[in-house]
């Protein structure tokens, strides 16, 4: 294809964007709304997954050792826990250590716990990690039956619940988005249909004088592409702007290590690329559907 031809196709496609006025606006709006929702959804899903992963890595069983246990009893308990095949590692945390962690986790206000340093009411703890996070509950239940395991604490299915919720949310979101994608494609294909209709005489003459199907198709292909890409601009810009501000606002305020947002760079760039690509695909696909049906090429 020559430069002149490409310019010509560009010109034609832009002209019909203007000529189709309201339909162009409707198509672009549909893409915008769709991609905005897709974008918000993706941002939330990726961050939730990120949280979930962090939490998952953090899942541990805390075995509070009976205060009456002797050093030997503790050793025996440890050996029994170690014998469970699903157990990956056991760490011992003395009650002094526990208190220190407690004080630290409360930050400023934690200093009032110092009083307990003299007479520490906490227990010594074995921190147990399983090979697979999903085995946590099973292993915890088993440890509960051991002697001198005074109390056993674990995620209590929090993680499972979180994952289940995430999965449901993801499926609902996906359904919604697929519906929206089709709506946007349908609107675009209708816009292109109008263009084809408006230009049917021109197309007829093109055919008569020997234009190839590819040549005839190009302007419609481009028009669809513009509709999709222009529709993606608003979602990309607004999502990036909002995410950047939320990220900057939240970053210094979230002390808990697992509750962290994905960093703006590269995350938002990737999302933007995905949205632009999606916009382009919707546009081209919508346009090709019409072209196939109404151009008989």
């Amino acid at each position: 294809m020559t430069i002149n031809t490409l310019k010509r196709h560009m010109r034609e496609s832009v002209k019909s964007l203007g000529r189709n006025g309201w339909m162009t606006f409707a198509s672009i709006s549909a893409v915008t709304v769709t991609l905005l929702l897709v974008g918000v959804f993706l941002v939330i899903m990726f961050n939730m997954n990120h949280f979930a992963k962090n939490i998952e890595d953090d899942v541990e069983i805390r075995v509070y050792i009976d205060l009456t246990a002797t050093e030997k009893d503790k050793q025996a308990l440890r050996a029994k826990i170690d014998a469970i095949p699903e157990v990956k590692e056991i760490q011992y945390s003395s009650k002094e250590n526990e208190l220190k962690n407690l004080i630290k986790s409360f930050g400023e206000e934690g200093s009032s716990f110092r009083l307990f340093e003299q007479d520490n009411p906490l227990s010594d703890v074995y921190v147990v990690k399983t090979v697979k996070p999903t085995d946590t509950m099973k292993v915890a239940k088993q440890i509960e039956t051991f002697k001198f395991a005074h109390k056993v604490k674990y995620g209590q299915g929090e993680v499972e619940k979180l994952f289940k919720t995430l999965k449901i949310a993801r499926n609902i979101g996906l359904g919604l988005i697929i519906g929206l994608l089709f709506t946007a494609m349908f609107l675009i294909s209708n816009t292109i249909k109008i263009t084809i209709f408006a230009r049917r005489r021109e197309i007829e003459i093109m055919r008569l004088v020997g234009a190839t199907n590819g040549f005839i198709r190009w302007p419609f292909f481009l028009e669809g592409l513009w509709l999709g890409v222009i529709g993606a601009v608003v979602p990309v810009v607004s999502l990036s702007f909002v995410y950047y501000n939320i990220y900057e606002f939240v970053k210094p305020r979230l002390a808990v290590p697992f509750m962290q947002l994905l960093p703006f760079n590269p995350f938002m760039w990737q999302i933007s690329a995905v949205l632009l690509l999606l916009g382009a695909c919707i546009g081209v696909w919508g346009s090709m559907m019409s072209v196939r049906k109404f151009l008989k090429v």
């Binding site: 008569l208 004088v209 020997g210």
Partner: protein
């Protein structure tokens, strides 16, 4: 050279428009196609630029069988055949110049070639002074000249015209016919479906008469032969 061999055409609604047509048209001939309305004249000429495909039979144009020509090759065929219609088929938003240039732009000729060729044919049809006019600023005869200019701007070997004077008054029609004669004089084959009895009987050429999808008469310097 155009050669049809036992061509049948049945449209999808069951109408038999061509019912066994065989004919040979040599390069440089001028042929009128006459006959009553609905006889199959348009279908007959549509076969030649592959607007319609025959249901059976073969149509050879310069050694290519149009009955077997792939759809993707039709554009190439059209570049060697000019087509002119009763309703001119000009684009109203383009100037005279642009309407003719259109035929070259869509086959991706260079702007320099386009300019040269377009001015040449507009000169030939006598509309050089109207290059910037729009179709609605022209008379019917002038519009038909533009459409003829477009049909020959590619220097085709064959020009097919389906009732080119059908919308024109008699005086204008004579002018258009002169133009076709000029084009024919340059060696271009002309196949023209027409209802214009006066013209056929005055500018004597080969006449092919079609009735009910069959060739009923084929004379070298024929008469129109109908009363309408």
């Amino acid at each position: 050279m155009i050669e049809m061999q036992d061509v049948y055409k049945t449209y999808s609604n069951g109408v038999v428009a061509l019912n066994g047509v065989s004919v040979r048209i040599k390069q440089g001939e001028f042929v009128y196609v006459v006959g009553p309305s609905g006889a199959g004249k348009s279908t007959f000429v549509k076969m030649m630029y592959r607007e319609e495909k025959p249901t059976s039979g073969s149509i050879m144009i310069n050694g290519v069988n149009l009955a077997k020509l792939k759809d993707s090759k039709v554009p190439l065929l059209r570049r060697h055949i000019g087509v002119v219609f009763q309703d001119f088929k000009l684009l109203p938003k383009l100037t005279v110049y642009e309407n003719v240039a259109f035929a070259l732009e869509v086959i991706e000729e260079s702007p320099k070639t386009i300019k040269k060729k377009v001015m040449e044919v507009l000169d030939l049809v006598g509309l050089k002074h109207k290059v910037r006019s729009y179709p609605n600023e022209l008379s019917g005869g002038e519009q038909q000249r533009v459409s003829i200019a477009r049909s020959i701007v590619n220097s085709p070997k064959i020009v097919i015209a389906d009732e080119p004077t059908g919308n024109l008054d008699p005086e204008t029609s004579w002018g258009i016919m002169e133009l076709f004669e000029q084009i024919n004089d340059r060696g271009t084959t002309i196949v023209m479906a027409t209802h214009n009895r006066e013209i056929v009987n005055t500018i004597k050429r080969r006449v092919i008469a079609i009735e009910n999808g069959k060739i009923v008469r084929d004379e070298a310097r024929g008469e129109y032969g109908y009363d309408d």
